[in-house]
């Protein structure tokens, strides 16, 4: 029962929905009328090979019709991917809270295998370096490294801390056998 409820709750992944508003650079393969990518443009028209920025949500539909290709944004240029492999990953991924979701969306569209592999290896490194300490790390320390985590990593870390806090609260908590409030009262006389 709970499993089903949990699945339904995940049906709309809010993080994925929010990140679909993110603007990414695109190159149009075909000219199209009624499309306005550049707000300063006078006409609602994009020419062949013109470049602009569009939301991921809009890109998905356009790419499906093979009308444009999606370019890697500056953050994911090869030099940054190299940087991630050279252990600068904390800084690079920490710049964008929604980076994990963003990259997953990019994998679906760009067709660049290196991004998927890079994302997995980066997550594994960060998981081993900081996330596995989430249960026992002190609160002050935790709040310090929370700033460099992506949104999904923050959720992961908070789940661990919440779980441990609940356990500690239970361990030092008061009596669980609580007296029912109705017991001990005098009964009303039956008239």
């Amino acid at each position: 029962m709970n499993d089903g409820a949990s699945r339904n709750a995940n049906y709309y992944d809010l993080d994925d929905i929010v990140i679909e508003e993110e603007l990414v650079p695109v190159v149009f393969h075909k000219s199209a009328n009624g499309v306005k990518v550049d707000p300063s443009a006078e006409k609602d028209f994009v020419g062949r090979r013109s470049e602009g920025r569009a939301a991921i949500l809009a890109c998905s539909g356009v790419i499906f019709e093979a009308s444009c290709i999606n370019k890697c944004s500056g953050m994911f240029q090869p030099k940054h991917i190299e940087g991630i492999e050279l252990n600068f990953h904390f800084h690079v991924l920490g710049r964008n809270k929604g980076c994990g979701q963003f990259l997953c969306q990019k994998i679906n569209m760009v067709g660049d295998r290196t991004i998927g592999k890079m994302l997995l290896s980066t997550f594994q490194m960060r998981y081993k370096d900081i996330l596995t300490k989430a249960h026992t790390v002190a609160y002050a320390m935790a709040s310090k490294f929370l700033t460099v985590l992506t949104k999904e990593e923050t959720n992961l870390c908070e789940a661990a801390q919440h779980s441990m806090a609940t356990f500690k609260k239970w361990r030092i908590g008061g009596p669980r056998f609580q007296r029912a409030s109705v017991l001990g009262r005098k009964r009303k006389p039956i008239e």
């Binding site: 992944d13 994925d16 997550f123 594994q124 996330l131 596995t132 249960h135 999904e152 356990f167």
Partner: protein, 231 residues
């Protein structure tokens, strides 16, 4: 059985795990005479003075609070046994010692609820159990570093409360590993390499992920379903 706790990431609260542990059988020595008690979970009694009888932990605590019995501590709850377990935990960092599945909950119930005079060397026993719990939790955390993009996690001799503490983290970790190493995406990318990029159609994987406390009287599977994506 579904937990009643409100958080979707934690299926069982510590109180619910404790509630489950209250069904463990304990030996008591009654000081009164009473007919058998017939419960849904079984029949217990009859009760005669000074004749030991086994009852669920919740009943033992309830009778003890009313001064109707003394509780005999479990065999594992001795200074000698616990010292041995603690040494074993400290010596071998890779594996866990075999301890009762509900040792944390049982010890807390006995320590907090009136069984103090029934347990020999209560302070030493309590201290040893806290040390064992701390060492094991530290070891659990160390073991989490060995996770990789796996489909299942098996940790032998992990207790119910220890599983419950790490479950939200482990489940989310496996979800993240799965998300970033999705074989469906990889397969799609293989087929996409020679043509224009397309939007990937959502697919629900058949495989499920779970964490299992191995070699325990009770296993708690946590099956993860890949959430359906909005498209």
């Amino acid at each position: 059985m579904a937990g009643q706790s409100d958080s979707p990431i934690s299926l069982f609260s510590p109180e619910e795990v404790e509630f489950i542990a209250e069904d463990e059988l304990m030996e008591i020595v009654p000081n009164m005479r009473m007919d058998p008690l017939n419960f849904i979970c079984g029949d217990f009694g009859p009760f005669f003075p000074q004749i030991p009888v086994k009852v669920p932990l919740w009943l033992a605590v309830a009778l003890k609070k009313r001064g109707k019995c003394t509780i005999r501590p479990p065999q594992w709850m001795t200074v000698e046994n616990l010292t041995q377990v603690l040494e074993g935990e400290r010596e071998d960092q890779g594996t866990f010692q075999a301890v009762p599945f509900h040792y944390i909950e049982i010890s807390r119930l006995l320590f907090d609820h009136s069984a103090r005079e029934d347990i020999p060397d209560i302070y030493m026993v309590r201290s040893l159990i806290e040390d064992i719990r701390d060492v094991r939790l530290h070891k659990v955390e160390t073991n989490l570093e060995k996770f990789s993009a796996t489909s299942a996690v098996k940790i032998a001799h992990l207790s119910a409360m220890e599983v419950n503490v790490v479950r939200p983290f482990v489940v989310r970790s496996l979800q993240a590993f799965y998300k970033h190493d999705n074989p469906v995406v990889t397969a799609d990318l293989d087929s996409m390499s020679n043509r224009q990029p397309q939007v990937r159609q959502p697919q629900v994987p058949n495989n499920a992920r779970r964490i299992v406390a191995q070699d325990c009287p009770l296993t708690i599977p946590f099956v993860l379903q890949q959430p359906l994506k909005r498209r």
